[in-house]
Amino acid sequence: MIPILLIMLLLPFAGILLAGIIDKWANYIASLIGLLEIVLFIYAAHIYMSSGPFSESFYFIPGVANFELIVNNLNIVFLFLTTIVFFASYLSNGFFIKEERSSYNMLNMLAQSTVLGMFLSGNLLILYLFWDVSIILFFFILFHFGGLDRRYASIKFALYSLFSGSLLLIGIIMIYFYLPMHSFEISYLMSHGYQIPINLQLAIFILLMISFLIKIPSFPLHSWAPDAYSEATPGGAMLLAGVVSKFGIYGMLILFLSLPIARSYSFEVASIFAISALYGSIVALSQKNIKRMLAYLSISEMGIIGFAVSTFNVIGISGAIFGSLSHALIISLLFMLVFLIEKVFGTSMLNRLNNVIVQYPLIGYSFLFGILATIGLPLTTGFITDLLVLIGGDKSFGLLILLPAAAIILNAAYLLWTYERSFLVGENMEIYDFVDENAKAAIALLVLFIIIIGVMPSILLNMVGTL
């Protein structure tokens, strides 16, 4: 049998070699790799749908951990969003990055390999390995290629993320030693997590939750995110907001499904996320830079998804997984459009933008679509997410759903208001005509998936199953 998951993991390295040899074509090679990864994912999903979860295991540290890759109902959606968002970011790179293309694309491909490895790993140690390496890669993407204030933003990002990684490492080592049969395997943790002594469970839970709150990012520990998102490269912002923030959600899913203590503290966790959702919306209201506004929008949306995980019922968790996909597609679309706006109009300050929809209709209408999808337009993925999250939340926490619901309404209000001010009204009637086929293709790809999955959510919800 072909080790398809290992090929998925190693394919970017072939791209890196090729891009190193023929650096003129680095963009095309990266896009090709992105496309091949989608094809491989579809093949893996086909195997998964026809014969259930499967895994591949290789030799790593004998007696401690195997190099195990899995596909199951938890990670399949995350793999899907990773391949799509990476493909879109590769497509847009050609338009945005003009210098040192080959090294930028090589870094991105390496990042794709680590992100896929993180979601594929069936073993906590391997998960940590990829988690930590991806931090370094994104640090370099930010630091070497980012915007004007990149130095500050990238160092802040690295310090926060490495701290989160260290907490994760302590948690993982504690899990290893306090499981009855010392093991790093996620499946073993899920089936035997309840055997860890209760006070140690609490310690592990707190350590890991802090680590995930940083990574998601959620309210008290989010301050790296607006800087990092707004100073990153377009591709970097798409990946950080769309994919890397899902690390925390994925970790939370594993944590909630394995340690019983999580259930008894789920109300507290849900409150943190609900406050985070509302906080993100309120802070986004006062932003003058559209990039920072989107960053806070992302924090608010991630708060809603985190809230959905902590409901801990089938509908809520399906909502969280589905919402992760929806958020990844929508926020990466929005970030790409905002960076296009900055590139075309030379600014991303809201008060300097006007009448975008006349000047550049493609950006204007796509942005409108992105906003509508965010606030839950029916037939887009946003609608399904909001529906599942609110139903699930109501089942578990009752009236606490008023906070995320308020955040959703507030998001709708300021997004539409912003759109009206900066996109619809104004005197500037000059028409820009930037044509970049690849960027257009990336926009089309994301819009297409938002609609397809919004119309037929059963494609994904079937994969997730009943958990």
């Binding site: 790593f60 004998p62 140690l125 990829f130 930590d132 630091f143 310090l159 260290s166 080592i173």
Partner: protein, 450 residues
Amino acid sequence: MISLFYALILAIAAMFVLNSVARILGNKKIELAISLIFTSLISAVIALMLSEGYSGIHAQFIKLNEFSLLLSLAVSLGMILIHLISFREREYADFSILSMFSFIGMLLVIMSNSIVTIFIGLALLTVPTVFSLFLNSKWVEAGVKYFIVTALSAGLFAFGAAMLFASSGSLQIAEQSYDIGNFVAFLLLFASIAIESGIFPFNLWVPDVYQKSPAFITSMLGGLNKKIGLIALIFVSLIIFPYASKGMLAIFSILTMFYGNIAALVQKNVKRMLAYSSISQVGYILIGLSTLSNYGIASSIYQIFSHMFAFIGLFAIVMLMEAQGRHEISDYVGLNKENKIAAFTVAIMLLSMIGMPFTAGFIGKFMLFSSAVASNMAWLAIIGIINTVISVYYYAKLIIAVYTNKAEARPIIISPSLATAAVISLVIVLILGIYPSLLFGLAQGAASAI
């Protein structure tokens, strides 16, 4: 049929004689060739002995088993790199012979079966290093400082060994036993070794000497001499005084880690910063030793390997920069534009010292911290991880400098010998990180052999 042990002795002797002849002829290239050929031969013989599971005691004072063979292998590989690094220097002709003495000293310490062998080995290791610091008048300050501390260390060791002999009537390591009467002997031996390997508070000489020495001698001091001190510590504290040393090593480990990391935060000179970083690395290694478990010792051995190659490989590049008069962290700005391999080597070696996954440093630190948790000392692991987070700041400072762009950057060319050393250590660090089972089983076997 000649046994492998005699082959080893013969190789060492032949290396020494031939190298002396080459020195008299005055040909640096022949000297390098002889050193490389014979060091590789010695490594090959040791690897062969290791694969055959050779073990035995020779003449009461040399003991070969998995532990000593594995570490001898590491030291010989490190020595090959040192020869490659130092080849371009004017002083190489003399340094080559002096380092050979040091090499024999290292092997003696590693293979020692009696206290006296450790003592002779340490002296044979340090005295030639002092002499090589006297080869150039610019290094004399470092030489004098190193001479004073090593003399003090030797004195303490001799005194401690004498007290041990007085209490047990024997010099064999295996025949010593702990009683309250020879606790003072333990303290003396510990202080002596702590000076050698830079354990807080006996490490005040380390930054000065490392900074003022030339890069190739610093790489030997930090990459090899320090590790030999730690191996002597394994013999003294883990075999002779296990009960006395458990809590003590943990405390010294914490102090050493914090001292090294916090002092390194404010350094501007690269070599001085790396000196403090190597102090903190000793602290991490002590975590594994303080658990007194097989797994802990195995993890210490792994970390000794990983730091040895990371340190020596990094100093290949420090050597390159030093030749251009670039000493400060700010001088490293733009290295990526000037030479991609050098920049990549610096980045990977520093990431390995931080403990980034897929480098040898991660597996080492992971094993160290998990050995602490396994011995119910989770607090020690947590302190170790806090230190790792602190250390990110100063390692990242250098990585950032290397990858910051500079306005005018002219390509630098690395000499082939330096490039070889850098690439070899790069490959070792990455392989030990990606495929740890290569060394993991050997380290565990070595730990259970002592």
